[in-house]
Symmetry: C2
C-alpha cells in the first residue's frame, strides 16, 4: 500500500463519495452504492480503489460486497483517512451527506 496510490484513489469526487458512504454505512453491495455514474464507470472506480488498498471486495454469489479498509489504512498511515474524510464532509461532502 503506497501513499501516492492511496491519495490517487481518493483524488476523484465519485471515489470520495463512495469512500464516505462506506465509512458511514459499512459493507455495501456494489449496486447498492448510490452514485450518479454508469455501472462500468463505477466498476472502474472500485477497481482503482481496490488496487490501491482502499477498499476490500468480497464476492458472495452474484454480488460484490465492498468495504473500506479502515483498519489497514489506519495502521499504515495513522490519521490520514480521518483527515481526508473530515475535509470531504466539511466541503464537497455537504451536498451528499446533508
Amino acid at each position: 500500500m503506497h501513499l501516492s496510490s492511496v491519495l490517487y484513489a481518493l483524488s476523484d469526487p465519485v471515489r470520495l463519495s463512495i469512500v464516505s458512504e462506506l465509512n458511514k454505512l459499512g459493507e455495501r453491495t456494489c449496486g447498492g452504492i448510490d452514485v450518479s455514474v454508469v455501472k462500468s464507470t463505477k466498476s472502474h472506480h472500485v477497481r482503482t480503489m481496490r488496487e490501491a488498498g482502499v477498499v476490500h471486495v468480497r464476492v458472495q454469489g452474484t454480488q460484490r460486497l465492498l468495504s473500506l479498509r479502515k483498519h489497514d489504512l489506519e495502521e499504515r498511515f495513522p490519521g490520514l483517512l480521518h483527515a481526508i474524510l473530515q475535509a470531504y464532509e466539511g466541503t464537497e461532502g455537504q451536498k451528499v451527506s446533508e
Copy 2:
C-alpha cells in the same frame, strides 16, 4: 481549491517529495529543488500543484520561487496537509529525509 484536486496534486511520489522539501525548507527556487526528473517534468509537476492551489509560484527576475500554501490549505482543510506529510515522512519519505 477542491479536495479532489489537492489529493490529485499530492498523489505522485515526485510531487510529494517537492511538497515535503518546501515544508521543511520554505520558499525555494524551482531549480533549487532536488528531484530526479528532467526540467520539463518538474515544470509539469509544479503546474499541477499550482493549479490545485498547493503551491504558490512567485516570479523574481528570471527565477521562479515556489512555496507551499500551508496557511490556505490549513484554513480550507484543517489537519489534511499535516496528516499527508506525516504519512509521507513515516514511509516513502524515509529515503529522502533520513
